[in-house]
C-alpha cells in the first residue's frame, strides 16, 4: 500500500503510459518488418511450390523452439526469418510487462510489483512451451 491511499498518481501513470505505447508500436513495427522480409524471400524462393496444409504435419518441425528458429534464421532460411519475426512479436507484450515491473517499482507500488511478477511467472511457463 502506498501512503497516497486509493489514488494512483496520475502524473507518473501518464508518463508510463506514453512510454508503454511507444514500446508496443516499435515492437510491432520491427516484428512486422522482419516477417515481411522473410516472407518476401519465402515467396521468391518457393513461390511455385504447392503447399499442403489440409492435414497437420508440423509436430516435428525445427521451427518449434527458440534455438531451432534462430538456427534456421542464421542459415538465412526464409521460414526461419519469418518465425524470428513472430518471436519478436510475441516478445513485445512480454517486454511491456517487464517494463511495467520497473515502472511500478519506481513508484514503490509493491502490490503491483508482486502482481506483475505473477503475470511474468505465468508467461514464462507458457513461453517455455509447457508440455501437457
Amino acid at each position: 500500500m502506498n501512503e497516497h491511499g486509493n489514488t494512483p498518481r496520475p502524473q507518473a501513470d501518464g508518463e508510463i503510459e506514453v512510454m508503454l505505447g511507444k514500446l508496443l508500436r516499435l515492437g510491432v513495427l520491427v516484428a512486422a518488418a522482419v516477417v515481411a522480409a522473410g516472407g518476401l524471400l519465402l515467396i521468391i524462393s518457393r513461390g511455385n511450390w504447392t503447399p499442403d496444409y489440409a492435414a497437420f504435419h508440423d509436430a516435428n518441425s525445427p521451427l518449434r523452439s527458440v534455438g531451432g528458429i534462430l538456427r534456421e534464421a542464421y542459415a538465412l532460411r526464409p521460414d526461419g526469418i519469418v518465425q524470428t519475426g513472430i518471436l519478436l512479436l510475441v516478445a513485445t507484450p512480454v517486454l511491456r510487462v517487464v517494463f511495467s515491473l520497473f515502472a511500478f517499482a519506481r513508484q514503490r507500488d509493491w502490490l503491483y510489483v508482486v502482481l506483475t511478477l505473477v503475470v511474468l511467472a505465468v508467461l514464462s511457463v507458457g513461453l517455455a512451451g509447457w508440455k501437457t
Binding site: N6, P8, D58, R64, V90, P93, G126, L127
Partner: protein, 278 residues
Amino acid sequence: MSYYVLSSLLFAGSLLAGLLGALTGLGGGVVIIPLITLAFGIDIRYAIGASLISVIATSSGAAAAYVREGYTNIRIGMFLEVATTLGALGGAALAGLLSTGTIAVVFGIVLASTALQSLRTSHDVSGAAASDRSALRLRLNGEYPLDGLRQRYNVTGVLPGFALMLIAGGLSGLLGIGSGAVKVLAMDRIMRIPFKVSTTTSNFMIGVTAAASAGIYIARGYVAPEIAMPVMLGVLAGSLAGSRALVATRTVILRRLFAWVVIVLAAEMIFNGMTGRI
C-alpha cells in the same frame, strides 16, 4: 494451388478481415479462422496458430494509440492479466487434448455469441456508484478524459470479473482468438468500468494473454510461418487502416451486416465440426 496464389489470397482475405474487424469492433480474429479452414481447407490447428499471432499484432498495434489517449487503466489491466494468462495456459493445454471437430464446434458457439452480443448496442455508461472493498485495496479506481475534463470512476464486482477473465483467457488459449468480447463483458457489465476504458484496457490485455499461449502453440508446431506470415501482415495492415477510418465514419449498418456474416460462418463451423469435416 501454388504458394504465390495461396499467400496472395491469404493476405487479401486477412486484410479484409482486419479491416472489417476494426471497423465493427469485433476484432480481426473472428473471421480469420473460418476463412482459413472453410475457404482454404487448411487444418484448424494452423488456423488457430496464425490467428493467435495476428491477434498479438493488432492488439499491440492498436494499444499504442489508446494508451497515449489516457483511457487505458494499467492497474486494472495488470490485475486482470493474472487471470487471463492463467486461463490462457489452461486453454492452450486443453487445445492439445480436444479433437479438431470439438474445437470447431466450441469456436462456432463463441463466434455466434460474440456476434449476437455486438448486435445489442446498449451500454451502461453510468459506472458504479461505489467501489467494492477489493477495488479500493487494489486501487483499481481511476479517471479518464471526458469533454476535456478528467472524469473519475469507481470499480465494483472485482471477484466475479476476475473469474470471468479466467474464462476469457481460457477461450483465447483454446481458440487462438483475442476474446475481447468476453473481456469487455466482464469489465463493462460486471465491474461497471466505463465502456471506453473497458474496450481500450481489454485491447491492452489481449496481447499479453495471447503471448501466454503463443509459446505453447509454437512448441506444438501450430505456428507455420508460410501461413502465419500473410495472415499476420494482412490483419495488421487491415486493422490499422480500419481503426483510422473508425474515427470518421459511423458504422452501425456495417456492424449489423458483419455480425450476420459472422453468425453464418459460426453455423458453418459448428456443422462442419459436428460432421467431422474439420
